[in-house]
């Protein structure tokens, strides 16, 4: 009995530890600045409002006492950032999938020489820290005119996503039934058709998971985005948030911007949750 009580207390602590920081920022984003700045800080807003979000998205919303308030000055920055992030993430996803899927297939299922060596080399590139690549990328991009462009950021993100997808993909394709291609070949498919018409459709769920992971990885990447694209028209969401965070001191506005940036990846992850479940977490 004492053990049961203890376990429930520990579970409660684990719950608080896990969710309170996130709940807190969401609650702040729903408060008027006036209420947040008042002397007594409390968890739940007395006067919950979506005004911070409305003003960030370009609308006008009255303040707590009814005074008119125009759109947030940082709205355009955040909105452009979200759009740019989405564009970059989609391109990264598409391009990474195009190159990584065939490679992952070959490295896991084709009876080829150099398989182990190839896989090891690709996985080894995953252990190179971003700081080691930002410096040369920065220097090279200045010469190539890619600094501050979405193209440049897409390329930089692919240094992370491509090895990651190959690694995850090999375990996915390796899990398919062993005789799949042989059956297709007996039915008259060429090697390529066995891959393109049989293996790819059979693993569409796993490939959805791979695409989702590429999207989220690109969306969440901070270092490259900060260093290459801060203050440029191609600025993505993380550097936009960073400028807002370090320049304004209205915590309620920053909180709502942060929450806005969390929505797309959580939405994508939520929609495709049952596919991502299967990913070996430690591969990430």
């Amino acid at each position: 009995m004492r053990r049961k009580v203890l376990i429930h207390i520990l579970a409660l602590i684990a719950l608080i530890w896990t969710v309170v920081p996130i709940v807190w920022i969401v609650l702040i984003s729903l408060m008027y600045h006036h209420e947040f700045a008042s002397a007594d800080i409390h968890l739940f807003p007395h006067q919950p409002t979506l005004a911070n979000y409305v003003r960030l998205l370009g609308g006008a919303a009255p303040d707590w006492n009814g005074t008119a308030q125009g759109p947030n000055a940082y709205g355009p920055l955040i909105r452009e950032g979200l759009l740019n992030s989405a564009q970059v993430a989609v391109w990264v996803t598409v391009l990474s999938m195009i190159v990584a899927v065939p490679a992952a297939y070959a490295l896991s299922r084709v009876q080829m020489r150099f398989r182990q060596a190839g896989l090891l080399t690709i996985v080894a590139t995953r252990s190179i820290p971003p700081v080691a690549t930002t410096i040369p990328f920065f220097a090279l991009y200045q010469g190539l005119g890619l600094s501050g462009t979405k193209t440049g950021l897409v390329i930089a993100h692919m240094t992370i996503t491509v090895p990651l997808l190959v690694w995850i993909g090999t375990s996915f394709f390796g899990g398919l039934p062993p005789g799949l291609e042989r059956m297709a070949r007996v039915d008259g498919c060429s090697r390529w058709r066995a891959f393109a018409r049989v293996v790819v459709p059979a693993s569409r769920h796993s490939m959805t998971a791979m695409a989702v992971i590429a999207f989220i990885t690109s969306w969440d990447e901070f270092t490259f985005a900060l260093i290459f694209n801060t203050g440029t028209p191609a600025q993505t969401f993380p550097p936009a948030l960073s400028s807002m965070f370090f320049q304004v001191s209205v915590p309620t506005d920053v909180a709502s911007a942060t929450v806005l940036g969390l929505i797309p990846p959580l939405l994508v992850a939520g929609l495709f949750q049952r596919y991502i479940r299967k990913v070996n977490l430690v591969g990430l």
Binding site: K4, I7, H8, L10, A11, A14, L15, W17, T18, P21, I22, W24, A37, D40, I41, I98, V99, A100, P102, A103, A106, L107, V110, Q111, M112, F114, R115, G118, I122, S127, I128, P129, P130, V131, A132, T133, T134, I135, P136, A139, L140, A156, M158, V162, P163, V166, S190, W192, W219, D220, L241, S242, F245, P251, A255, G261, L262, A269, L281, V282
Partner: protein
């Protein structure tokens, strides 16, 4: 019903390749499997050479040259940059902070992860809910986690400061000089413990319940049971997790950027942050690249060393069988 069925066109009902007289084998089946495989891998290989191998080699070149930040002119410098970095007390200060940070993160994250995994193995009300919610910190972007915890730690508007104030305690600032590194490590652990918890839980669930029952009958205490039954099962996954988290901690940047920006007064200026400042704020590419190479080499050597040590034969599951 009344539609008139048109007479089928002559020839087979399915499209066939125009026969050229001899049967043609498709290209992908004519070549050897190795060639076919290499053709599929080729795009990735070319891409990685262009965007990973070449830049890394270029950074080695940068670390061996002097770059004028205004004109961009470079000249060969030999090991000057490395010498300059290694004789700089700031570099050693950053190295020490990095080690301190890595140790803090590893200890906190593995403790939280193990604790959570052991807890999730038990039965309690709301377990599925906790199971689902526990991934939340991990699914947050790291920079977002930084902002989120700013609202906990900030001495002006943070939750902890508010609680301290309402309890009548002196003002609490966990991001001050002496506590900055442990506080950052706490956030890092908060974010990466869920991954470890899931990973360890998978190994814990393999252990047969009977082992624990037998041990209880034998009068083993909870610690003995953990040592003799649980530990052999989780030793390997635990080691892998520790390496993963430690390596990640050594590269941490986003959190530090948002929570302390290396401050106060350089108190959280770890190597990654020092590299960022040196290279992108002071635009001195040579020393920056040299530092990034030192970090890369140290991390790789330590990680490899740890893997070798952890995967020595004799550890892991075979011991569990003896227990």
């Amino acid at each position: 019903m009344s539609t008139v069925t048109k007479p089928a066109p002559p020839g087979p009902a399915y499209p066939v390749e125009r026969s050229t007289g001899r049967p043609r084998t498709p290209f992908s089946s004519r070549i050897s499997p190795t060639r076919f495989g290499l053709l599929l891998v080729a795009p990735v290989a070319v891409l990685l050479v262009a965007i990973v191998i070449y830049p890394v080699a270029y950074s080695l070149y940068l670390s061996l040259s002097h770059t004028n930040p205004f004109t961009g002119v470079r000249r060969f410098a030999g090991v000057d940059n490395f010498q300059q970095v290694l004789s700089d007390p700031d570099f050693w200060h950053s190295t020490w902070l990095t080690v301190y940070y890595v140790v803090c993160v590893t200890v906190l994250a593995s403790a939280v992860a193990l604790g959570t995994a052991l807890l999730l193995r038990e039965r309690f009300v709301g377990r599925p809910v906790l199971m689902a919610l526990i991934v939340l910190p991990w699914s947050l972007s790291t920079y977002a986690a930084g902002v989120v915890w700013r609202y906990i730690f900030s001495p002006q508007y943070g939750l902890l400061a508010a609680i301290a104030q309402q309890l009548g305690l002196p003002p609490l600032d966990l991001l001050s000089k002496n506590t900055a590194i442990p506080a950052l490590a706490l956030v890092h652990a908060w974010q990466f413990a869920p991954l470890g918890a899931y990973f360890l839980l998978a190994s814990l669930q393999v252990i047969p319940d009977d082992l624990y029952k037998l041990a209880k009958v034998d009068g083993m205490g909870i610690l003995r049971r953990f040592r003799t039954i649980t530990r052999p099962y989780i030793r390997l996954p635990f080691a892998i997790y520790v390496v993963l988290v430690g390596g990640q901690a050594a590269m941490a940047f986003d959190l530090i950027y948002f929570l302390t920006s290396g401050g106060p007064g350089g108190a959280s200026q770890t190597l990654t942050y020092a590299i960022y400042q040196e290279t992108f704020q002071d635009l001195s590419f040579g020393p920056g690249a040299a530092m990034s190479w030192i970090l890369l080499i140290v991390v790789t050597v330590l990680t490899a060393g740890y893997y070798v040590a952890a995967m020595k034969p004799g550890s892991g599951q075979d011991k569990a069988a003896e227990a």
